[in-house]
Amino acid sequence: MTTTDQKTPRFYLAMLASKAAVGALDLTHHRGGQVPGVVAEKIDPDFLSHIDKPDHVVFVSGTNGKTTTTNLLSDLLVDNGYGLVTNRAGGNICTGIESTLIKNAAVSGAQRESYAVMELDEVSFRPVLPRLEPELLLVTNLYTDTFTRSADPDYVFGIMSRHISESTRLVLNADDLISCRMAPQNHNKVFFSIEATLPDDTPDPQGIVCDLTACPVCGGRLEYDYCHLRHLGRAHCTSCGLTNPEAQYVMTSVDLDAHTFTVEERLVDGHPRHDYHFGTYTVANLYNLFAATVAAREMGLTPEQIARSLDGKVNITAERYSERTVEGRRIVNIASKGENGTATSVAFDTIRKEPGTKAVVLMLSDAHMAEHPTEVEFSGWIYQADYEYLVDPQVKQVVVVGDTATDQVLRMCLAGVDPSIVTQADGIAEAMAAVRYDDVDTTFIAFCVSNVDVARGAADMLATRIEGAHHER
């Protein structure tokens, strides 16, 4: 897998130093996802070119769902006997990829496991793909992401598209008219699409801001046939005729009662259909599971192997959505993604569709930034997120905390959230003390993925409070 240059003494020194870094991190029980790669690059700036690669490398990329999909695909493969390495605990930029390969390598640089399934940050295509050409690349979708870094989907698309080789097998989402056009130089592609009608389909893109309001090729007007999730669906340009490509893997039906979806494989004679199990239903979950299933098929798993794994222990990881019930009070932690209006809107949409009355705690600001008093978060994404979804008689309280809380309070006023139900808290403890859990069925904690531990601690605080109050009664 694209190991081109000779190994130099500098490479071996970098390998030794980075291995020492891995050992030190293990000894001190630190995760330090990117540290070994950072150490290696300091010594050998072209380290990624020099280190051996596993025989089969799969990258999963795209704005939303790549972590979930990478984990699902890895779990499917491991459950079926594949030995593989992932960057689940590492970073998804160049140094994170290097760190993953370092951990999988002997000091000689030779890889232990022959398969790697790794999440790859979109902008990191530029430094990574020239040095590590994947056998298979899955792109989940493209939306606006962290604007300071990624600008707009058009810019990210350009970076990704330019760096994809002609030989990599591409798995693309036909329902995303942005990312499905990726890498015109590559003719080794397969597409997946949800053609089934879903309960929450809309005739037009969902949300206050759409990433695909105009044709990405000519700027002309788009007409939508339907949307499953935000702009993911089917559309055509009234000027140049651009439309979604035909898919080879098609989700033809979804059974919400049986928790199964059916995939028709149109690249196989007779177009066989296969049923797969899903856990918690959301359209985002369905897309992630579908994408992982298609990638697993492309890697050689049989439909039966995949179905058996999905019937068993393989499912969406709990880190993104977890719930507990304490003395009859439900607490749900639901992940969003900092500076990402789409991911935040999807989280809000999930919350509003849950039954019962609710209190919502918003911990969407980046905890890392709170630790750096001279670093500020760009607040533009707040105006791209659908705070309007919180305008719901079932939402009885909103508590907001973090660096951008003041901006979010104003945004909620503009969205139509009753200011009298909004509390701005100074710190996590104050936020959790402000929650009126007795007045609602469920307390939702919507958190930025960088705040996983903080959100877990917040849920613990609330649980302790509920238990304490219960014992006093």
């Binding site: 105009a214 700027g219 500020v376």
Partner: protein, 249 residues
């Protein structure tokens, strides 16, 4: 009482200008002017301003491809647009939108796109270099007027070369202006403001909105959620003045 029933805000190319929270500008204006008419002019449509005189023209930031086709499109309506600028019609160009008002936009590969030429500057696109800054500046509507404090973010691939010494929007206390050597932000001509400040500029700057509303003839229009907007503004003004304050990539 405000007579905003006769007020028309023309939003140029809103399907493009929804980047980075720039849509918050229209959102806030709608909240301040609940009875006003908002006309959305999409790419390919003849602008409302060609036949009538809007109370305000608003255009927000867009991608490079969209910017290129908008520059070509607006060339068709250039004379009327300039006539309205000269007549003092309020206009607000934010994010990357001001770049179409310069003489040209150059690409990293050396190619260029003509601008409308309202202002004397050239835009240089320097992708993938990203220029980030926070800004606190003052806007003086007319000589002797009380300065208006404006806060905002700058996030762009571009730097400009040109002259705004006598036609700037803000004198920056914090942050860079047309380029990293400049402390003069944006352009101003009569009641047109062109600024690279990006994102929800208006919700964070109630005093600037007050001036825009007054200039539109909406002296009786109330600032929407004024207390919350002032808190957001004051917090930004305070934090942006901290030495070393920055955004990270």
């Amino acid at each position: 009482m405000s007579d905003s029933a006769n007020t028309v805000v023309e939003v140029l190319y809103p399907e493009f200008g929804n980047q980075a929270g720039d849509n918050g500008n229209e959102m806030y204006l709608r909240a301040c002017l609940p009875d006003a008419t908002f006309v959305h002019t999409s790419y390919g449509d003849k602008p409302y301003f060609m036949e009538k005189t809007p109370s305000l023209v608003l255009m927000c930031g867009m991608t490079e491809m969209q910017q290129d086709i908008v520059a070509r499109e607006l060339e068709l309506y250039r004379d009327r647009l300039f006539e309205l600028v000269d007549a003092g019609v309020p206009m607000l160009f934010t994010g990357s939108a001001p770049e179409v008002l310069g003489t040209s936009i150059t690409n990293p590969d050396g190619t260029s796109v003509d601008g409308l030429g309202l202002f004397d500057f050239v835009t240089h696109r320097n992708m993938p270099k990203r220029y980030l800054d926070v800004v606190v500046g003052t806007f003086v509507p007319a000589p002797g007027d009380k300065p208006i404090e404006v806060v905002g973010f700058k996030i762009q691939f571009t730097l400009m070369e040109g002259h705004n010494e006598s036609s700037f929007f803000l004198a920056d206390e914090v942050g860079f202006g047309l380029n990293e050597r400049s402390k003069l932000e944006g352009f101003r001509k009569n009641n047109l403001i062109a600024t690279w400040l990006i994102g929800p500029l208006l919700p964070s700057n109630p005093d600037l909105v007050r001036w825009i509303l007054d200039t539109m003839g909406e002296r009786d229009a109330k600032l929407a959620f004024e207390d919350e907007a002032r808190r957001a503004h004051d917090e930004r003004a305070k934090t942006f003045r901290m030495p070393g304050m920055h955004m990270d990539i």
